[in-house]
Structure formats: C-alpha cells, structure tokens
Symmetry: C2
Subunit: 203 residues, 2 copies
DNA sequence: GTCTATAAAAGGATAGAC
DNA sequence: GTCTATCCTTTTATAGAC
C-alpha cells in the first residue's frame, strides 16, 4: 500500500472518530449514559449502525474517552488560572467567568463530567477517572481560598468547604443556564462571588 | 368474601405498594430512570419480579407516581413557608433551612424531582408534571424576592433571575451534600443567603 | 472504509401454578 | 397475594458483502 493512500485513510479514520465523539458528547450529555442508545449516537453522527464498532470497542469505551477528555481539560483550565498571577479574588473571578464562557455554547462536556461524578450507572473506568480529577480540582480551589483568606480578601471558613461550596454553586448555576439559555446576563458573577468575600456594598 | 378479609387484604396491598414505592424512590433517585431496572426495584423491595406488575402497570407508572409525590410535596412546602409570616429574609432563611433539613436524611425525592426536571429520558407524563410545578415554584420564589426588594432587605435585581439563582444554588449544594454527607455544618445557610442581601459584615 | 443483515444479550412484561 | 418460568421487545455487538 502506498504511503499516499495510507495517509489519506488515516485522515478519514481520524475524521470519523471525531465525528462519533462529537455526536457522543451531545447525546451522552443530554440523555446520560444509560439513557443513550448506540443508535442515538450513530443517528446524530449520520453514520451507519455497524460502523461505530470499527472505531470503538463498545458503548462504554466511547463514554470513557469522552469522560477522560472532559476531566483533563477542566483540570488544565483550573490549574492554569489558579497558578496565574493576580490576587486570589481576581483569579477566582477569572476562573468563574472563563467557565461560564466555556460552557455557554454547548456544555456537553460539563454535563458528562457532572454525571460521571455523580451517577452510579457510568462505566467503572470513567468513575475512577472522575474520582481522581475531582479530588485534584478541589485541592486547587482549596489552595486558592486559603491564599485569599490569608491575604484578607475572603472570609474565614474551612477552605475545603469553601471550595466545595464554590463548585456546588457553579454546577447548579451552569446546569440551570443550560435550560434557560435565552437569558441575558445570567448569572451575575460578581453576585455569586459575594458569598466568599467580605461585605462591601454592591458597586 | 367477608369484610374482615377484605380489609386485611387491603392493608397488605397498601403495605406492598408502599414498599415498592420506597424501593423505587431509592433506586430511581440513585440510578436515574433509564439506569434503573425493574429487577433493581424488586430486589431493593425484597419482592419477586412478577409481583410489581400487580401493583403498577409499568416501570413508567411507578416513576410517574413518585415524581408526582415529589413535586406536590415540594410545592406545598414552599407555598406554606412563603405565605407565612415574618420578613422576606426570615422566610427565605426558614425555607432554606427546612429544605436542607428535609433532604438531609435521604434526598431521593429531591433527586427524582431534579432529574425529572432536567433529563430527557423520563416518562412524558412525569416531564409534564415537572414543568407545571417548576413554574409555580419559581413564581412563589419570585414573589418573595420582589417583596424583599420592596422592603429593602434584598438587593435589587430581576426577581425572576434571583429566584432562578436561588434554586440553582440550592440544587448544586444539596446535590453535593448528598455525596459528602459526613460533613458537619455544610452548607452554612447564612453564607449562601449573603448573595441576595445587602452588605453587612458577617456577625 | 462503509453498509445491511443477523446474532446474542438484556430487560420489560405476562402466564399460570400455588 | 405471591412466586417462578417464559415470552417478547429492545438494544448491544458481530458477520459478511460491497
């Protein structure tokens, strides 16, 4: 086989796989792992039913790959912002706005991460990945709150609980916004962050 | 058939149905509608597989009944507190504490309500019930925020968005707490409500 | 590489005995 | 009223032709 053809085939393979992953992200995000049928994915991807098994070993495998992408990206995003310059409050604000901006369009990866974290019906390997990264994310946030408290920007409270409160709130709000996507100026980031800062009248 | 026997049978029937509903609440709450098998429910209820169909027409039917219970109870709870005496802030605080207390134990009905609201895979009838009640709940909250703003307790912002923010946050936090149930003093209700009130240094 | 047809497995629902 | 065994539909996965 000529390398010319080889390369072309590889491109096709990559394109198809990508197509299936994107379709999978959408339907898994919308319907959950158990609620998604293989036929849902291939319909969304506009490919034949059998073809999916040339690219993935099983329905589980697609989900695991998507979950891995979701967690590695979110971890990298958080790490970058948290390890950035700026005061703790500035970094927290930048992180929050970044996450909202990032999930404004589709939010499918957010939904996959969330359900992988919380559902008891996702593939075991995905749950393992989730557990690992969620802990790391919380640690990054905890550290940020600890710094902010030391510098006097944030109110004093168990930094771990503050990190937990922050991510809970974020989950709830993003989730809501996905169903009320027509709303403008929702949520107000400054308003949310008031939970963690000292009293100051709204400017 | 003697009325004596009739009555006894009725009691058995009621007990079994209750048993199945409780088991259903647990597994549907934990695993979602699509992720739950009829066999999961009967195993949890410790009854035989076939028996469930003497009490419910289908898996869908059990879920619908549970969803209805979840929504009617939550609506009644909110309505009672909101229409109570006390200042808007006091009522909001009472409501929040009540919901946390109520979901501290199991939270299965909370989870069922949440997924009925958001999942695309629940039975159609359940989704319809959800839509109806969610709107009503939001209206009650919106009214509470409107009053609180008029009386000067709450910051000024679109009352509908504030209601949405409140319920989003509550969802996120309750959800988190269900996985971190060993945490004491989480969440701090006063801290959450700071989002909606005017600045005042934490007491 | 892609498709259609088919096998294999899982899960919801029913039948009939006790 | 309750159980076990069975049916039947849905869904995952594979085979084989193009």
């Amino acid at each position: 086989m000529s390398p010319r053809i080889d390369e072309q085939n590889q491109q096709i393979r990559d394109a198809r796989k990508q197509q299936l992953l994107e379709a999978g992200a959408k339907v898994f995000g919308e319907r959950g792992y158990a609620g998604t049928k293989v036929s849902d994915i291939v319909r969304e991807a506009q490919l034949s039913h059998g073809l999916i098994y040339h690219y993935f070993a099983s329905k589980e495998d697609i989900y695991i790959e998507l979950a891995r992408t979701a967690f590695t990206t979110s971890y990298e995003t958080i790490r970058q912002v948290v390890e950035n310059g700026g005061s703790p409050y500035e970094r927290l604000k930048e992180l929050t706005e970044g996450i909202f901006a990032h999930t404004a369009g589709s939010g499918y990866f957010f939904l996959i991460a969330l359900q992988t974290n919380t559902s008891k019906t996702v593939p075991e390997e995905a749950a393992a990945i989730s557990k690992e990264y969620s802990g790391q994310n919380l640690q990054l946030l905890e550290q940020l709150f600890r710094e902010g408290q030391k510098q006097g920007e944030f109110i004093h409270a168990d930094p771990f609980k503050q990190a937990l409160m922050y991510s809970s709130m974020l989950n709830g709000v993003i989730f809501t916004r996905l169903t009320y996507s027509e709303l403008e100026d929702f949520p107000q980031v400054d308003q949310i962050l008031r939970i963690f800062t000292h009293a100051r009248e709204e400017e």
